[in-house]
Amino acid sequence: MRRKIARHLIAITATVLLGGLVSAVLVRISPGFAIDENQLDPRLNAESLRALRASHSSEANILRFYAGYMNRAVHGDLGISHSLGQPVGRLLRDRVPVTGRLAAGGLALAWTFAFGLAAALAAVRISTCDVLAIVLSGILLCLPAAVMALLSVLWNAPASLAVALIVFPRVFTYSRNLLLNSYSLPHIVTARAKGLSKLRTLFWHVLPSCAPSLVAVGGISVNIALSAAIPVEALCGVAGVGSLAWQAAMARDLPLLVNVTVLVTLVTLLSDAGADVIGYVLSTREN
């Protein structure tokens, strides 16, 4: 067991480090790297412009940059953001909780309604309600994220509602399809024919049979919520990691981008590992 955990940890660390490196490479090869908006400032003379360009020279060799970054990160220094001129560590410390709350609130809301609705619809099967639910999730899928964010501001609603509305149709669609599939499995059809109550069917038969996939949907919904946070934060004026990531991308802020990628990779891996553990516990209990 201990060995397994150790192996997992090594795999996670390796993936996270690889994620940081690949993101640094992606930024480095994209056009606009080491370009500063101020280069168009007519007041700056040739020497200042040269200095502006040279300010990114330490990042030109990406492997050397990354080695330096890891070396400093081990000592707790995550570097300084170019675009904001502040230590990345402090920026993340300030903003991770904000995004965490936003995403968690959005996820909780979305899951409660999406799963509740999907389970109820799968159990009762009233086709009008089914069509209505499909239309509702269709509407939410089609609304651009920016419109949702704008609506939440217009109606003075919390930003997490916008995140919830973005996550909702996705979770709903996956869970609805998974539940319906389970209901059509032969043993469940038999159980229902024998007159097993709806709740019992749901909890004893349907959920266990689609639990692994549902748990995996839970894992990816974290990613969906995080990517929804980018436009929502940017538009609603929430100072979280999402708006930070967007700003960093537009300014080609390498130190900040690498750290944000590392963070997102870590969250993705942990959500996946969490889903795995839950799936494992569920399957052993079932057995």
């Binding site: 994620g19 099967r125 999730s137 089609c142 651009p144 217009l154 669609t173 990613n223 991308a249």
Partner: protein, 266 residues
């Protein structure tokens, strides 16, 4: 009944978009400069946009690109997800672990920069078709990762299920077993992925416009039409501008309804 209606709607919208050159009262690029931002009238059924182009015509023409390419890209993404996630879960062991690590990595990387690089590699005077195809292809190639994880979990559960044990006992192995039993059992996730991807890709296409990718002006697409909604005024003061959104919702819902019945025999 809903399914037939949905198929009919899809057929109608497709036919209307194909017949855009006959149905549209004006070309998609014609500018009625004396009437920018006009409300609906007999002359302009859905009003005009900020530079005076007939929105009804633009919606019709925009359907062509979006209705054809978004489902195609969704198909690419779904196939990749099924291939990578499904196979990994089905095989288990080291291949699964490696595939899932890569999937997780894929989910976390800033692909924006890859798109920026691709724009830089395309010539500025690239034909609109090339730019549009490249955009949707990229969307398809980048959009598989999330559902691959769900598919992998589903396939993993199937691997040890009685169903597959029985199939194996009947002599089914390898690709055939995968195609016949695994994929058919993963259908609910595949349908979900396909359905969710269509509107997502339609909207993403417009967002890629900020990188110089996507459908170039003056060609319309649903994405670019919907992007104009991202202002307070269109939401509160010009509700007719929501028309393209309505069409998109109808089409996307029809897709789901059309798929929905096939997938679950009630």
């Amino acid at each position: 009944m809903p399914r037939k209606l949905a198929c009919l709607v899809l057929a109608l919208v497709t036919a209307a978009s194909l017949a855009a050159s006959w149905l549209a009262p004006a070309g998609y690029a014609t500018q009625f400069r004396e009437a920018p931002n006009a409300p609906p009238s007999r002359r302009h059924l859905l009003g005009t946009d900020q530079v005076g182009r007939d929105l009804f015509s633009r919606t019709l023409y925009g359907t062509r690109i979006s209705l054809l390419l978004a489902p195609a890209a969704a198909l690419v993404a779904t196939t990749l997800a099924a291939g990578i996630g499904g196979v990994a879960g089905f095989l288990g062991g080291v291949p699964e672990r490696v595939a899932m690590s890569l999937t997780n990595l894929f989910l976390s990387l800033p692909w924006l920069f890859l798109l920026i690089t691709i724009r830089a590699l395309l010539p500025l005077n690239a034909s609109p078709l090339a730019s549009v195809l490249a955009t949707f292809l990229m969307l398809g190639l980048l959009g598989w990762a999330a559902s691959a994880r769900v598919l992998c979990a589903g396939a993993r559960a199937l691997r040890t299920s009685e169903l597959l044990l029985q199939a194996r006992a009947l002599g089914l192995h390898g690709p055939r077993l995968f195609a016949v039993h695994v994929i058919s059992n993963l259908k609910p996730v595949l349908y979900a992925q396909f359905w969710i991807s269509i509107p997502t890709f339609i909207l993403s296409e417009a967002n890629l416009g900020i990188l110089g990718l996507g459908v170039p002006e003056p060609m319309p697409s649903w994405g670019t039409l919907l992007k104009e909604l991202e202002g307070v005024t269109s939401l509160t003061e010009q509700p007719w501008k929501l028309a393209p959104l309505l069409v998109l919702i109808v089409v996307v819902t029809s897709f789901q309804l059309a798929l929905s019945r096939q997938e679950v025999p009630l």
